[in-house]
């Protein structure tokens, strides 16, 4: 990596938090600025809550009003759209499975107190990719704290093979 941003990251020593977030979300650390890192940290915290099956940790990243909208894409080409209250997005199965969700090189845009994080994602259970798709977070900053206002995502159980092969 070249440029002053990289030097600033390296000067911290070890692995700064924003770099850890960047690696998890598939971003180049040098591309992060503080505002971008703050927004991504909210999504990363929600994903950490999913991995820990900690509904309170997930809910802590959500605003009280909002929607979670999922588009299920089936192999036969049929699709269904379903919206629920955002709080439902925090529900996790209490079983023994280990979950991991991550986004791949998401796009982040910020204007004042609104932001978006969007891009491809993969969802794994016990280390095996179960589904993938596109995910779009809508965030707002209220009283200085970024939270998720809405989330929309697609679910595909096919076509995720390229991601699976890369991670073997």
């Amino acid at each position: 990596m070249e440029g002053p941003e990289c030097n600033l990251v390296a000067a911290h020593g070890g692995m700064p938090d924003d770099m850890m977030i960047a690696l998890f979300l598939g971003l180049a650390p040098a591309m992060l600025d503080p505002g971008r890192a703050e927004v991504l940290a909210v999504v990363e915290a929600a994903f950490a809550g999913i991995a820990a099956k900690d509904e309170a940790a997930i809910r802590a990243q959500l605003r009280p009003t909002g929607t979670a909208t999922v588009i299920m894409e089936k192999v036969d080409g049929s699709r269904t759209v379903r919206s629920v209250d955002l709080a439902a997005w925090a529900s996790v199965n209490p079983g023994p499975e280990r979950y991991k969700e991550q986004m791949i090189a998401p796009t982040v845009a910020i204007d004042g107190a609104i932001a978006t994080v969007s891009g491809r994602y993969i969802f794994s259970t016990d280390g095996t990719i179960r589904h993938c798709g596109y995910q779009h977070f809508d965030l707002v900053r209220d009283a200085g704290i970024w939270k998720i206002q809405n989330v929309t995502w697609s679910v595909r159980t096919f076509g995720c093979g390229a991601a699976r092969a890369r991670r073997k």
């Binding site: 009003t65 845009a109 004042g112 107190a113 609104i114 891009g119 994602y121 990719i129 596109y134 991601a163």
Partner: protein, 157 residues
């Protein structure tokens, strides 16, 4: 309105780089927003309602920055939003002031772009409109909208 689509993620593989949005796909996503803005210009709540996924439970979220530096975030239901769209003594006009960023993946789209809202021919507020759209039964509709709103530093036209 000029479309300059930036990103598309229509290919099924999870880790392929997004491809550019085609002009026809961008036009399809922008059509309900164009109709929405026309509805604002005409203070026609029905025209706007027709662009909304009204049963999707979504709404509008506004992040207001006041000249004195205070900030406010509020969320309104679609019905509350639409109730405020009614003919009156003022003329409104909303437009994107630059080509918005558009992402499309299957039946999900997002549009993010600078806007101005004029009242009686004079820019009153500006900010960024962020539309969350889904395609259902072949039609793109707005699931949610969020916008930043300020009165300082806005373009004059």
């Amino acid at each position: 309105m000029i479309f300059l689509p930036l990103l598309l993620a229509a290919a099924p593989a999870a880790d392929k780089a997004p491809a550019p949005v085609s002009a026809s796909d961008a036009a399809a996503v922008m059509a309900p927003l164009k109709a929405w803005f026309a509805g604002i210009d005409a203070t026609d709540a029905t025209a706007i309602r027709n662009q909304i996924r009204i049963d999707g439970g979504g709404g509008a979220t506004i992040a207001v920055s006041r000249p004195d530096g205070t900030k406010l975030v509020r969320h309104v239901t679609w019905e509350d939003y639409l109730a405020k769209i009614k003919p009156g003594e003022h003329r409104y006009h909303e437009q994107f002031t630059a080509s918005p960023m558009i992402q499309i993946d299957g039946d999900i789209a997002m549009v993010w772009g600078d806007f101005t809202l004029s009242v009686d021919g004079k820019v009153a507020t500006c900010g960024v409109d962020h539309f969350d759209l889904v395609r259902e039964n072949g039609a793109w509709k707005v699931q949610n909208v969020t916008w930043s709103q300020r009165t300082a530093g806005c373009p004059t036209t």
